[in-house]
């Protein structure tokens, strides 16, 4: 498939935003369980939510560049009963709204407990909004993943692994950013976020490796024989029905040679997983030194660059059965 930069930026940027919010709320839950000290509502939670929103908004803006008729984008929420794309169009602003409310509730210090569960668990407004926002964030991951996983014709995408990859890679990049963010705003949480960033990056490494292996092994369901209905092992296309290229010869191909796609796979494995894991481990051992923030910043930037490449490969590596009809030019 042709890698569209609008969609590459959309999925990677909202992944960071979603992951960062999940990190913030994880911090709040840990504080609630009194495992880590409670952070300042305004500087940590409100600023953190604002940062997550910046990434979500940037992703939303990127998505508009994918549309031929962006002025009609409002229509794209109508068929939510059948279309995962329509569901994403609804869930994305909903998650953004809830995260904004979460940040606002913290900013306005709505942290007085509303009620107490079993006499030990104080529940305040930020916790309730945070829970709802967490649900919306995961729903958004599922919607984004299902947009691709629900297309059964594209073998490389039609697997639950697609959803897990989106969750773990988005989560990993968000937690890496949270580690860097907490270095300035909440130094007590650096180890917690760094630890989770390593876990999520490792989880993403595992699921993405399995999906790479799965895509490399396996046979396409359709063949040229079933495509034109002629039973003969040797069928060669001599004309595609177009002198030059057409939409069909551009949209469904990576436009890059297979060798470059293969190189991209090796490179993103290094940039998304190996390098950030090493940098995170190094940063966590030098938390108190002045080396920590450049290491974490480098980990975030390298991983994001790798994620752009990973998403590019996600498209470039996907094969579409319609290409059977467009084999020769």
């Amino acid at each position: 498939m042709h890698p569209a930069f609008s969609v590459i930026f959309l999925t990677t940027l909202i992944g960071i935003g979603q992951g960062l919010f999940l990190a913030l709320f994880t911090g709040q839950l840990y504080a609630l369980a009194q495992l880590v000290p409670l952070q300042d509502s305004e500087t940590f939670y409100a600023h953190g939510s604002a940062l997550a929103l910046v990434f979500l908004i940037a992703g939303l803006i990127a998505s508009f560049f994918h549309l031929g008729r962006p002025e009609r984008a409002w229509r794209s929420a109508t068929k939510w009963r059948t279309s995962w794309l329509a569901r994403e169009v609804i869930v994305l602003p909903a998650a953004m709204g809830l995260i904004a409310m979460y940040g606002a509730a913290h900013y306005l210090s709505f942290t007085k407990p509303l009620f107490t569960v079993s006499g030990v668990l104080p529940v305040d407004l930020t916790l309730l909004i945070g829970l709802a926002a967490t649900g919306a964030t995961f729903a958004l991951f599922v919607c984004t993943g299902m947009i691709y996983a629900s297309i059964r014709f594209i073998r490389e995408w039609a697997t639950p692994l697609t959803i897990f990859n989106f969750i773990f890679m988005g989560g990993a990049s968000g937690f890496v950013l949270a580690t860097l963010f907490s270095l300035f705003e909440a130094p007590e949480l650096v180890a917690l976020f760094g630890f989770w960033a390593i876990i999520l990056t490792t989880a993403a490494l595992i699921t993405r490796s399995i999906s790479l292996w799965r895509n490399a092994n396996g046979t396409p369901k359709s063949t040229i024989q079933s495509a034109i209905g002629v039973r003969h092992p040797k069928i060669v296309q001599t004309a595609t029905g177009a002198m030059g290229g057409s939409f069909n010869t551009k949209e469904f191909r990576s436009g890059s040679p297979a060798s470059r796609v293969r190189q991209a796979k090796y490179l993103f494995m290094l940039l998304v997983f190996i390098a950030p894991l090493a940098l995170l481990a190094l940063a966590l051992t030098t938390i108190s030194s002045s080396l920590a923030w450049p290491l974490l910043a480098l980990a975030f930037v390298i991983q994001y660059a790798g994620l752009l490449l990973e998403r590019w490969t996600f498209f470039a590596d996907a094969t579409h059965p319609q290409n059977l009809y467009y084999q020769s030019m």
Partner: protein
């Protein structure tokens, strides 16, 4: 329930592309138009087509067959492109089963084209909306046209009569009889999309002549040379004793 569709006879298609040009001519100036061409006289011309004729070579020389393969939207009975559309611009008509795109609702996200295994949809580079074969919906119901002309433009243009239009749900229609009796098949049946359009296979015409058809065993001219007893001659028509 009506399901309008085309039956394409690969046995008679000569690959002249008359269906391609007549489709473009009718639809670019009709309701579904324009079908924009980009740089038609440039180095890398491209454009929107609802119908293309492709060519495949089957086998290895000298045992080869050239198959001309016209391909347009198959108007699937389970169209995978319809439910994925986020706006409802892509829809299947209840009354006649034609799959259409509402250009006023389409946002040009291309998601439906990803969900079509046949590559039947093409985005219009200028109008930025998805386009596809309409089965000439603006023509087949046009009461101002004489009855025989209420057919898709490609069907009317085909000089080899390789394209037949009709209701595949009516068991007595011309298309249904052809599918039933001439081995009509659907493309990529493995996906369960149930394409309404069907293709008739290449059928090689071979003549079988038996030796006794060339020379009758009881031919009176050759009979005079026979030295064997009449009783041993087997005859095809039972009048061997002539």
């Amino acid at each position: 329930m009506t399901q309008l569709a085309l039956v394409i006879d690969l046995n008679t298609c000569v690959g002249c592309s008359a269906c391609v040009t007549s489709c473009k001519e009718w639809n670019t100036s009709g309701e579904a138009g324009p079908m924009t061409d980009m740089m038609p006289y440039g180095e890398d011309p491209t454009g929107t087509f609802f119908n293309r004729v492709q060519t495949f070579e089957i086998g290895t020389y000298p045992n080869t067959q050239t198959v001309h393969f016209p391909k347009s939207c198959l108007h699937c009975e389970e169209p995978p492109c319809v439910p994925v559309c986020p706006t409802g611009a892509s829809y299947k008509r209840e009354e006649d089963g034609i799959v259409l795109v509402d250009y006023d609702k389409c946002i040009g996200c291309k998601y439906c084209s990803w969900a079509c295994p046949y590559g039947a949809r093409e985005i219009d580079e200028k109008q930025k909306v998805m386009k596809k074969c309409t089965l000439c919906v603006d023509r087949i119901y046009d009461q101002t046209l004489p009855e025989p002309e209420r057919k898709p433009a490609c069907v009317l243009a085909c000089p080899a009569d390789a394209r037949i239009f009709g209701d595949v749900h009516d068991p007595q229609s011309e298309v249904s009889v052809l599918i039933r009796e001439q081995g009509g098949y659907a493309l990529m049946p493995e996906w369960g999309t149930k394409p309404a359009n069907h293709y008739l296979p290449r059928r090689k015409q071979e003549m079988h002549i038996h030796a006794d058809e060339l020379e009758r065993a009881d031919n009176p001219l050759s009979k005079e040379d026979l030295k064997i007893d009449d009783k041993d001659i087997t005859s095809v028509d039972g009048f061997g004793g002539w």
